[in-house]
Amino acid sequence: MNRTPTDTFVPARETPGSDRIDGPPDSLAKLTDGTKFLELSMGPQHPSTHGVLRLAVRLDGEEVVDLKVDIGYLHRSFEKFAETWQFPQLAPFVDRNDYLAGTLNEFAYCLAAESLLELEVPERAEYIRVIMAELNRIGSHLIWFGTFALDLGATTPFLWAFEQRERIYDLNEVVAGGRVFPQFFRLGGVRNDFPDAFFPMVEKTLDSVETSIEKYDAMFSKNPIFRGRTKGIGVITKEDALGLGCTGAMLRASGVSYDVRKADPYSVYSEFDFAVPTAENGDVFDRYRVRLAEICESIKIVRQALKAYPRNGEILAKLPRKLKPPEGASVYAHVESARGDVGCFVVSDGTDQPYRLKWRAPSFSHLHALQSIAPGLMVADLVAVVGSIDIVLGEAER
C-alpha cells in the first residue's frame, strides 16, 4: 500500500491569509486507499511542549508521517538588544536565555567577553565558577528528569525531582542571592566568595542528590513499563546526530563521546577526573541513562573542586575603566551546558558594546533534529521523544 504523500508537507499557518513566503497552505493529500492524512497542531499551548512550541504534525491514523516544528513564540530579540548594551551589563541578561541553566549561560558569555577584553580570571574564581556551574547542571538535569517522567505519565517523580532541585536553588540563594537566576558571574571572576554556611549545605545536598539518583534508577531503569515506552523509540543515528548539529546528551546517547569540557577544555576543567557517559542506541532510554550518569559525574566534579578550591586569593579581576576591545576582532567561546554545546560569538567594533552577538543554542539544533526523528512515531511516543530531547524554548528562540 502506498502511504507516502506525493506533495511536500508545508504546515498550514496559524493565521491563514497572512502567508507571504510559503504560498497558500497545501490541501490534505489523498492516499491511495481513499483515506486522508490528518493535519494537527500540537501546541503552542500544550503541556508536553515544555514552553510555547508548535508542532505541526501530519498523521496517518495514530502514526506521524511528517512533522514541522514552528518556533518563535518566545523570541525576544536578545541578539538585537545585546548590540545596545555594554559588555558588563550583558552578563546577568544571558541567564534568561536558558532559564533552567542560567549559570552555564553566564559561563559561555563571560568566557567570550573575557577573551575579547583580554581579562585574566583569578584561579580561585575559576573554581567557584566550576562549582556553581556543575550544581546548576545537576539542577537542570533534575528538572529534566521530573518533566520527562511527567510526559510519560508518571506524576510522582516530578515531585521527587523538584524536592532535590529545591536544594540546589537554596545553594544558589545562599551564595548569590538569586535562586533561578543567580547573576553570579562577573567579567573577570565572580561576585562574591562562598559564605561559610555554604560548605555544610553543599555536602548534604550532594549526598541527598546521590541517594535520590539511586532511587530514580531503581524505579525507572528496570521498570518494564518505562523500558517499553522508551527502548528503541526516537532513534537518531550517530551520523544524523552529527549532521543535524546535536550536542550534549543527544549526541552522547548516539555513541559520540563529545563533551566540550573534554574536547575544548575551558576554565579549570582539565584538572578534574570525570568521565563522559555515552550510550550506543541513540533512543529515548539511552538519553535518560546518559543524563542520569551525568548528574553523578557532576557530583564528582563538585566534590573534587571543593577539595582543590584555594581558600585565599582574588575572586574578581580588575576591570579597566574604559573597555577597549580590538576593533574588528571576533571571538567565539563555547561551554558544555546542560543541554549541549552553548556558544557565544561576539564581533567588536572597538566600543564597549558588542557590534554583533550570536548565541548558539543547542535546543535550536535539537528542535531541527526532531523533524527528522519524528516520522514513523506514534503520537504518544512523540511526546516522550520531545521530553527526552530536553528543550528549553527560551534558549532556542533567544
Binding site: K80, Y258, A263, Y332, A369
Partner: protein
C-alpha cells in the same frame, strides 16, 4: 550556480583593506580563518567537510557591516570525533556578499543538514536568501513580518502598520494636552 550570484564583486575587492579580522589568519582567540569569495562558498564548505573532516557545524550566522555595504557570512566548524583534540580540528569559514535584501548565495544545507535552520534564521534576521535550502521560511519572526531586524539599517517600528517616527511624533503632540488634563 551562476546567474543570481552576480552581486558587486568589484566593490568588495576595493574595500578589502578595511576588513578587520580579514587581515589576520586567526581570530583573536586563535581559530584559523578561511575567507573565500562568495562564488566559492559551497565548494569551500564541502572541502572543509569532506577533505578536512570538519563534520560539525556549530553555527552559521551573518554580520552586517553597513559601512562597507556588505554582509559577512560566518560559519564555525569543527571536528567531533573523540575526547581529544587532533591537529587541525577547528576553523572559521567566512565570505562576504552584498547587503541588499534578497541577495542570494548557495545553501550549504547539503553539506551539513543543520545549516538549514541556521540559514532560515539568517534569512529571517538579515534578508539573505539561500539557493537550495529546502525550507527557506521565516523562523523566529512572525510570518507576516516585513523587515529583517538584525540588519543595522533596521528601524525599530512596525513597517506594516504604517507607523513612522513622524506619525508617532504627531500622535504624541496631539495626545499631550489631553494627558496633562486628565492627570491634573
Amino acid at each position: 550556480m551562476s546567474g543570481p550570484l552576480d552581486h558587486e564583486g568589484q566593490t568588495q575587492v576595493d574595500q578589502r583593506a578595511h576588513k578587520g579580522d580579514r587581515e589576520r589568519e586567526t581570530t583573536l582567540d586563535g581559530w584559523p580563518i578561511e575567507s573565500v569569495e562568495s562564488q566559492a562558498w559551497l565548494d569551500c564548505c564541502r572541502r572543509a567537510k569532506e577533505d578536512q573532516g570538519l563534520n560539525f557545524l556549530a553555527h552559521l550566522t551573518a554580520v552586517h557591516h553597513i559601512d562597507r555595504n556588505e554582509m559577512e557570512l560566518v560559519a564555525y566548524v569543527y571536528r567531533v570525533e573523540s575526547e581529544e583534540r587532533i591537529g587541525n580540528w577547528r576553523r572559521v569559514l567566512r565570505t562576504s556578499i552584498s547587503d541588499a535584501i534578497g541577495t542570494q548565495i548557495e545553501s550549504v544545507a547539503s553539506v551539513w543538514p543543520t545549516a538549514e535552520w541556521h540559514e532560515r534564521e539568517v534569512w529571517d534576521m538579515f534578508g539573505i536568501q539561500f539557493i537550495g535550502n529546502p525550507d527557506l521560511r521565516r523562523i523566529l519572526m512572525e510570518e507576516d513580518f516585513e523587515a529583517h531586524p538584525l540588519r543595522k539599517d533596521f528601524e525599530d517600528r512596525k513597517p506594516n502598520l504604517g507607523v513612522t517616527r513622524e506619525t508617532l511624533a504627531k500622535d504624541a503632540g496631539q495626545n499631550e494636552p489631553s494627558r496633562q488634563g486628565s492627570s491634573s
